[in-house]
Subunit: 304 residues, 4 copies
């Protein structure tokens, strides 16, 4: 039943939504992405890949990198060292809010809002000599694509518009929950956001979440229990302040980025990635979410 | 592998946790429940039931009734009529907070925090002539136990301590999102909370969520799609401000009550109910959560 | 220098502002007040009265009654009994917000926001057998006008739109800071708001605040120290979330109402009342504030 | 009636309070100040000075500098240029909170909370080539004491603990309300806070606020209207989240600092400065506030 034809049909159905969303424009480099791009790729736990549309065109993965960074941190730290510094609960707030962070004294709600991802980046900075390179290497290894790169123009541009994230980092520092130099960590953080990958790259890269922690190269990355936990976090916190709606409509753990990409997984079966640059009000790909909703319906599959 | 022995073993493991939590004491009737009660029951989609400990002793289901009320509302209204008045997102706030409700102009975040459940009760009040009786009948039908009753002492006691819920209802009324008499709806709401059921009753009652909407009596209650949606809401919003942690540790859609009960489901397989009256700080059964965590581990089963 | 001509000149200057504000319309009875009314009255501590415009036309005093009610409470309770239940600080929030009230566990910031005035009404209800009548009598005594009445149509209309205030009262009740029946207190509260007085009535009534606590009838109402304290509270909290701007522009302790009236005092010298029904965004009379600003400038007098 | 004997008597009365507060200890340099210091100085508009206790011992003026900086800004900018970037209302929040700043999109409530003072420093940075030197010169000129210096150890120490203020500045930058380099402005800001002055210096320095804007040297600094406006802001916003209580108890416009100093004025008459390093919970000098309260009572003078 799973086939490239199915994906083609789904993309055809959601293509009319293009024009109803808004391409992220807070940095020029992102605003220039053509709004009409639309791609989708599925990778099964057996390694079979199905594609449709612009599935091979690389785009800025943005916050999807937060799932990569957390995974990298989970390979470097004991679980409890991480959860002492960042929570596991949905925030119920915009992704870049400082309000809750102040009420909860510098402990971010979860690793997928900006504050939490900055703590994870701070953890990587402490433990790694070259965190940027290591994150990029992980993206290459998991996707099996050694040509994956980070877009330095995007990274620099993000850095030039980084006041909000700097505010978040300094607020956490004032509570003792940020240990490295803010500037240095921000640069690593933006570099990870600026990684460019295609739907195919991302579907391949995240299949370990559907495969008990083992990527396509067969070398275990996370253990089964930890993998389930990452999926649980993605399901409750992976789509900004729209996690509930995504669970309701799509029913898969997932992570979105303002570049218009969304990855999602059906544990035990497959990973899927869609890309359409126009975002809805919550900052998630409008046509992308619709495509995943149809995908779940057509396959009759979700985690629920 | 699923057996009463397994459940016995799990309860033996978590029993030492008794003494570390706190029985709900905001109303006298709840405070009197013996802290050492511990029960567990599983009901498979085939209707097989496994039990352990005090699985047959009825207790106050409290907020577990919120899942019943939503289900009842979903049989009476079109989906969009409900979601126009209550959201589908985790709140990131205590269950009885008015802060977010004011910021979001009277639209509660989800149907499982108090504000949302009050809107659902208001919906039932509008459409039903005897909402209390109908909710009770649903509990009886689903559990197959016609002896299920609502404890009028508990209901009255809740009503006498209802200032906070009255404040929530009036705040929604001020935004036009509450249509019936506050007093009347509060009485129906507390009556549903005061329903007494045992672990066996509850495991049997909620197996429809694992069985595409069809309860043990075979007469479809919700369709497949709606059932998945309810599970999605339970997974992201069912455990107060601890939904993320519950997903992380247990990995099942679930709903807890301050009476110390928790129900959870593995779609396609089973429903499970635990009961232990002592609560953790988030208001969820302490030993109950631990029992479900072990249950998921032992079976090697979760939705993730 | 103080003369009716001065007041006439001031009103002529601010009259062009009529049309730029908005008459309160949350209840029909207030919405019907002609927008073009404009009056002003000054009463010196010697009892001399100067008037201009519609200074003799009664209007709904609304929140100006909060200053009367606090004064009445100060004659019935020891100071510390009152300040144990309501604070003395500006709120920095809209007058009818519940957010701060929840964060600060049911203790309102000050007696001039709705929550605080409801606590004061609750205090009056506890100590007086006929609080409504007593408040009205105080208004009559202080103004020397026995024809002062409360508008029962307005009171009833407010009561029918009282959901927000009921929410506030119940929230305080849930924290143990509201002792009487919500309904009963709301009725007294709205009755005080519905009192109708003219600029002349109000200027005469509030001259005790400029006269060390002694009204025109010569019988001391508050002692000097308490009077200064009431003035201090009016200066920091008397104009909703615009107290700072009012102090900056006008420089007198004052209290406004959504009926479009504002009273203010220069301690040791005089009280003044303006009336113009159109409000600015903060809920204070637009032309009224401008008139007081000019009045302070022309006289070269303020507390600063 | 005003005499050094009066001040001595007041200090004797409040000295027993020493031991009930807490010296600021967020930076080591402040924590070392002896807790038993107690001084008071009054300067009349005629230039007469009365002193008591440690009135000649310099201390860290800390946030009292915010009044100096605002005054300096008022000499450099048109009024409306300042109030476009910072409000005039009490905050109802702790002095270093970011919550309100986010809700109000980067516009601080008033110039006396940290966020507002940072905006004022940013304004000075834009207009002056050597803002630090100019602020210091103003302090010297107004006090008539050319030996006034900024304590570089304190300034450096503050800078090393500046994460919270950096967070505030970056948050404002993200809303476009901060124009210069954060680091540079923070250094100027901390330098102003680190100025050391005695009670005598401060009483002399701030007498212009009691004297229609004219300091002791006779050269007008602010005009009468602007001076009244500064006093109005001090009265509503000058004592952190305790402005209402200070108005209630003391009844004078004032400004406090965590170094334990408080300056206050009676317009047309005098300025007064007290110093006692131990602070109450709101961060204001405990014995200092009590001394001012007694001072107002004994003189029978306040603005109310």
């Amino acid at each position: 039943m799973l086939s490239s034809q199915l994906l083609d049909a789904i993309l055809a159905e959601v293509r009319p939504l293009i024009g109803q969303g808004k391409v992220a424009d807070y940095i020029p480099a992102l605003a220039q992405v053509p709004a009409n791009r639309l791609g989708m790729a599925v990778c099964t736990v057996q390694g079979e890949v199905f594609t449709a549309g612009d599935a091979d065109e690389p785009f800025s993965i943005q916050s999807i990198s937060k799932a990569l960074s957390l995974t990298l941190a989970l390979t470097l730290y004991r679980e409890e060292e991480i959860w002492a510094r960042v929570g596991k609960e949905p925030s119920g707030q915009p992704f870049n809010s400082l309000v809750q962070l102040e009420f909860e004294q510098g402990i971010p709600r979860n690793p997928f809002i900006n504050a939490g991802a900055l703590v994870v980046s701070d953890l990587l900075e402490t433990r790694l000599t070259a965190p940027r390179q290591r994150t990029l290497e992980l993206a290459r290894r998991l996707s099996g694509n050694s040509a994956v790169i980070a877009d330095s123009v995007v990274a620099r541009s993000e850095y030039q518009h980084s006041a909000r994230n700097a505010a978040i980092a300094y607020l956490m520092k004032s509570y003792g929950n940020f240990h490295n130099e803010v500037d240095k960590v921000l640069q690593s953080y933006f570099n990870a956001c600026a990684i460019r990958m295609s739907c195919v790259d991302l579907a391949r890269a995240f299949v370990y979440l559907a495969n008990r922690g083992t990527p396509l190269d067969g070398a275990p990355l996370l253990d089964t229990r930890t993998t389930k936990q990452v999926n649980a976090l993605l399901a409750t916190c992976g789509l900004y302040d729209e996690a509930g709606d995504f669970a309701y409509r799509v029913g898969m753990p997932g992570k979105s980025g303002v570049g218009g990409g969304i990855i999602a997984v059906i544990p035990g079966e497959l990973s899927v990635c869609v890309w359409s640059p126009e975002l809805n009000k919550a900052g998630n790909s409008l046509a992308g979410t619709a495509a995943l909703e149809r995908f779940a319906e057509r396959l009759g599959r979700s985690i629920f």
